[in-house]
Symmetry: C2
Subunit: 351 residues, 2 copies
């Protein structure tokens, strides 16, 4: 197979972890006789520095002409604490999601048996956890009208949803549930929000086409508790943009390291793959950033094109690296000198 | 001291746990020679059943003529899964908060040493946790304009904040931090929301009057992780309504039981005290509901009127009950027959 892959490595540790994924994808191409072409483009803070725009035209153009996107990370602290900044790196990511119509963000959360002891949660609570979170990614309060009064003393953000936005994601989530434990939990705040009540109504309707899937509902505040008290109760989670942002980051603690979690953002035409972790500026260029999340996102990319054997080989290589303690310091209890690059090398060599 | 206390026991387990608080407050009144007058009024689902209104006029009237409110719980599943219900129990609570101007919701989160093993988190992660959450309670997306289109296919909720709403709560939170570890964390989503950027701007300004307090910022998604990875890093948390709802419920898992967490909702004129747990319909009238959260909210009520010795005596009695395993089944590893009433009796007798 021939794939044109746009690489948007972004900020902070983005470039160094993405470099490992590319190395691994090249090993896969060699082993399985595929042709993967990588084209690089700036996004985020680095793009602001270069062009003034967190999502330059040329970057978006490249993405539209590629089969898939490999994304690193975005964000720089110099913008976070400057509430008056008019341009922010995150806008690049949000604009990209919107421009490419990437409405479904899929985040698998698994507790790796070899890493159970790394979790802040007790072993018996997390063992066996296997969740797939479907987060709506191009609507809600992220994209509604934002206003600040002229005197700067009041501000507002509008959360909006339409039936179509909910339906298309719900269908994906129900289909996923059918291939899994056949349980779907909608997380909302229907006791307070009108948009949540729309979600409940639409999802209840969509559920009628998936009678083999059990549907239940949880308020986001309760869900934030349940995720820690008993994560094993979840199979597929379906939720709107902001709640999905919160609950998926919270769920990331279960496995003991956010450095292990990948995500796919897909729409009807395009698909983007990225680690869940952010740009982690404090770790940049120290060789300590865990590349596994990025490499797993490369595996999700392969799965997306039905290259499942290839994706499975990557996962086997990762399991091997974990078992042999070829991991960065965040996970390593045995060696303290395994760098980002060494982990990438090991996994690529194994392949 | 003479206090007129309005009792709004509400739904589910509300009445049975509130009954224990009243018992305990009566014991305190006897011991310390105070006069506490209790007047009862319906709120929530039970008020809808009786009057069609989740916050009847007479209930609000009673509250306005009382020195403080003791609140139980609100909510009934028969309304949750009916997105077309026009009246909902929760509206009673929201209307009450708004009508009484209870803009500050204060939720202390502590890990009890005697209960460390009950937590889903590992002991070394939680031991020593002591957080005070200041949640804005009468603004934000809870109270902004809500709309559903006529065809029912789109819906919206508006999140709004003004400088004043942020300032008054920020002052309370900074003052609290001054009496504690002098650290305040603002939780927001300033990389996406305009309202969050207003919060950051206003809180940064307010901070100038509290130079002894260290201020830092955390995005809500990151905060949802940090709360589990390392809850000890927090002292005072300040946040808007929805994020406060989520993060405080999440934090409630730390102590091993939501049945131990109380809250105060205060404004410039009125103050209300309530357990954090909800109406927990499955447990209603089984004698298994833990009354400690409600009793602790009664202690917060006493503190509010500077009856600190009285409040401390309640806390001592609770510690004793925990040490002696006089607790409901959710916490009890020794006896399985201690009911809600027995816990209340023990604490009242101790006093
Ligand atoms: C960087 C930020 C805008 C983004 C989000 O909130 O969506 C991130 O937290 C994520 O989850 O991908
Ligand atoms: C019952 C509900 C409306 C309420 C809220 O979301 O504020 C509850 O969850 C709380 O935290 O007091």
């Amino acid at each position: 197979m021939k794939l044109n892959i746009a690489v948007l490595a972004g900020d902070g540790i983005g470039p160094e972890v993405t470099a490992q994924s590319i190395k691994v994808l090249k090993a896969i191409a060699l082993e399985f006789n595929h042709t993967f072409n990588f084209k690089y483009a700036p996004v985020g803070a680095i793009a602001i520095d270069e062009t003034g725009n967190p999502l330059p035209e040329a970057t978006l153009e490249l993405c539209k002409n590629s089969d898939a996107l490999l994304f690193g990370a975005i964000g720089d602290p110099k913008y976070d604490n400057d509430p008056s900044a008019k341009v922010r790196p995150e806008q690049g990511l949000l604009a990209l999601r919107k421009a490419l119509g990437l409405y479904a963000n899929i985040r698998p959360v698994k507790a790796y048996d070899t890493l159970l002891s790394k979790s802040p949660l007790k072993k018996d609570i997390i063992k066996g956890t296997d969740i797939s979170i479907y987060r709506e990614l191009t609507g809600g309060i992220y994209f509604g009208k934002k206003e600040t009064s002229e005197d700067g003393n009041t501000a507002s953000d509008l959360c909006e949803y339409s039936r179509e936005e909910i339906e298309r994601l719900a269908h994906l989530a129900f289909k996923a549930a059918q291939t899994r434990k056949k349980k779907l939990t909608l997380i909302d705040k229907a006791n307070v929000l009108e948009t949540s009540r729309l979600w409940r109504r639409v999802v209840t309707e969509v559920a009628k086409s998936y009678k083999d899937v059990e549907l239940d509902f949880l308020f986001i505040d309760n869900a934030a508790m349940q995720m820690i008290l008993n994560p094993k109760q979840f199979d597929v989670i379906l939720t709107e943009n902001m709640f999905g942002d919160i609950i998926s980051d919270e769920a990331s603690v279960i496995g003991g390291s956010i450095g292990l979690l990948a995500s796919a953002s897909v729409g009807d035409k395009y698909a983007m793959f990225e680690p869940i972790h952010g740009s982690y500026p404090q770790a940049t260029n120290k060789g300590i950033a865990n590349p596994i999340a990025s490499i797993l996102s490369a595996a999700m990319l392969l799965d997306h094109f039905d290259l499942n054997d290839e994706a499975d080989l990557i996962r086997t290589a990762i399991d091997k690296s974990l078992a042999l303690h070829i991991t960065t310091p965040d996970l390593n209890t045995k060696y303290d000198n395994i760098t980002t690059t060494k982990v990438g090398d090991f996994i690529a060599d194994f392949i």
